[in-house]
């Protein structure tokens, strides 16, 4: 009983912290993109717009919630929740530091893959349930994109699994050791490259934001959503970014290990690396234009998947000869 209560409190704390991070990730993004475009970003709410995320949250919470007449009501309501729940569930297996993990399961990496695929169901359902051309196209694109890039992403992490010999995220970090050269980014540079691109596609970020594609599809799968439901999609997207950044950090950049140990707050290095990843996401968004749909498919199937496969073979050969 006591254990359940403690776990429950831990979940609440993690939820609160992640939500706060999501809120300020939007601020971070708007500020950085603004400055990259020689603007200032939000400036009015609070000092340098620091209260902007809170104002946005309040606004979307009290906005009218519109459900189109022709929409499939049940699926329409369920879609954003599926998105958010799937994304938040994968937070449970992320190790923030040694022992700082809600569920230290042995199939951690696989679990995260499963959950991020499940989140795309939310997107597809949203597209279908809204009963509109734009959302439907957005949903279809999302489906095709996720199917293509899930493979590349999974294959790119196979190399990491082979080197560490486990799917448990804590053990993957420990297998990399505490030294700088132990990080898997060096032996798995090809996999890291594939992972970075697939990560952008998985989270529907620019330059692979075809499911949203404001210029063509209004707002893609969330065109018909408003108020809080729209905000939930947004949260799911940002949590997805964070989860992907955490996976990248854990699998390639040595997780919570850093040049020296920070007392009392062991997740410091992990969080710092996640921020660096988030900055990378935003930096890419400020720089690159959107891919065309066929270019996206070509990149995924003709380049990333063969590269990831080659990386597996290479890793296998090297591992067989060295051990």
């Amino acid at each position: 009983m006591m254990q359940v209560l403690i776990l429950f409190i831990q979940i609440l704390v993690l939820f609160a912290i992640v939500m706060l991070h999501v809120a300020y990730a939007t601020y971070f993004e708007r500020k950085i993109i603004g400055h990259m475009q020689v603007r200032m970003g939000p400036m009015r709410v609070g000092y340098h717009g620091l209260l902007q995320p809170i104002a946005d949250g309040i606004k979307s919470f009290f906005k009218e919630d519109i459900i189109p007449e022709q929409a499939d009501k049940a699926a329409f309501r369920a879609a954003p929740i599926i998105c958010l729940v799937a994304m938040m569930t994968s937070l449970a297996v992320l190790p923030f530091a040694k022992g700082w993990v809600l569920a230290d399961i042995n199939i951690g990496l696989l679990f995260i893959f499963a959950m991020s695929s499940l989140a795309s169901y939310g997107v597809i359902l949203a597209g279908w349930a809204s009963n509109s051309k734009f959302t439907f196209l957005g949903g279809m694109r999302s489906m095709a994109q996720v199917i293509s890039y899930e493979i590349a992403m999974g294959l790119s992490l196979v190399g990491v699994m082979m080197l560490s010999g486990t799917l448990n995220l804590t053990e993957i970090v420990e297998a990399q050791g505490t030294s700088f050269t132990g990080m898997y980014i060096f032996p798995q540079i090809l996999a890291f490259f594939v992972f970075c691109i697939a990560m952008l596609a998985e989270t529907n970020r620019v330059p692979f934001d075809l499911p949203e594609a404001e210029t063509e599809l209004v707002s893609g799968y969330c065109t018909e959503y408003s108020g809080m439901r729209y905000a939930i999609f947004f949260m799911a997207e940002y949590i997805g970014m964070m989860v992907m950044a955490a996976i990248g950090t854990i699998c390639f950049l040595g997780g919570w290990n850093g040049p020296f140990v920070i007392p009392f707050f062991p997740p410091f290095w992990l969080i710092l690396k996640i921020y660096v990843f988030m900055f990378f996401f935003i930096w890419i968004r400020a720089t690159l234009p959107r891919y065309r749909y066929d270019q996206l498919m070509e990149l995924g199937w003709k380049l990333l998947i063969p590269l990831a496969l080659a990386n597996i073979v290479l890793t296998g050969i090297i591992k067989a000869f060295t051990s």
Binding site: I32, G34, H35, M36, Q37, V38, R39, M40, M43, W283, I284, A286, T287, L288
Partner: protein
């Protein structure tokens, strides 16, 4: 001339995504440059000489009213016909006396012809640009309002406007002889027909 749409890349450049890296370097550089945003209500733009803002009738220090002589030039030249003047001739002297002077500023296109054509510098366009309102009546200026606009403008400039003359009230490039006395004000060199820097001249002078 042959236009090369696709720049040639070596294999190494293709593999390393040199073009994407160049773009990312540019955005990163811009991240640390100073934003060009002007935080408007706090930071006002500096109004240049010759700015055509809110209309005003210059208050004559001698009479306390306007300098207008009801010559009707402004009403005639106005392309959007937003100026309406009524006058009568004085029985004794035969001078025109303005009965009403209205400007419907919502129809105005801010071309500035009226202030150029005015022989006595009575009608001017001030540097005031913040006079938005929620109803049409407040942007319809009668004589009283136009004089008040001038008072507000002098207050904004900090007084000392009794002999205020803006060289940009003078029609551009017009011959000195054709102008009335009030219009013969000194203009900056680049405001004259010969001195103005536009077109080809602008390009060459910029490049030097």
């Amino acid at each position: 001339m042959q236009i090369q749409y696709k720049p040639t890349r070596t294999l190494l450049q293709t593999i390393l995504h040199v073009e994407i890296l160049q773009g990312m370097a540019l955005t990163l550089k811009r991240l640390f440059s100073k934003p060009i945003t002007r935080q408007y209500p706090q930071e006002k733009p500096d109004v240049r000489l010759g700015f055509r803002g809110q209309h005003a009738l210059v208050r004559d220090q001698a009479s306390g009213g306007s300098k207008c002589v009801a010559c009707m030039r402004c009403a005639t030249v106005c392309p959007s016909r937003c100026i309406r003047i009524r006058y009568h001739e004085d029985e004794e002297s035969g001078a025109r006396v303005v009965d009403s002077y209205d400007i419907e500023a919502l129809r105005c296109v801010y071309c500035g012809f009226c202030e150029e054509v005015c022989p006595v510098n009575a009608l001017v366009m001030t540097e005031v640009f913040e006079y938005g309102a929620y109803d049409r009546q407040s942007i319809f200026f009668d004589q009283q309002r136009l004089l008040e606009n001038w008072d507000r403008f002098t207050e904004l400039k900090g007084g000392g406007m009794d002999n205020y003359v803006n060289p940009f009230w003078r029609p551009r490039g017009a011959d000195e002889k054709t102008l009335t006395a009030a219009k013969r004000v000194k203009v900056p060199d680049d405001w004259t027909l010969e001195g103005q820097v536009v077109g080809k001249k602008f390009k060459t002078e910029r490049s030097v």
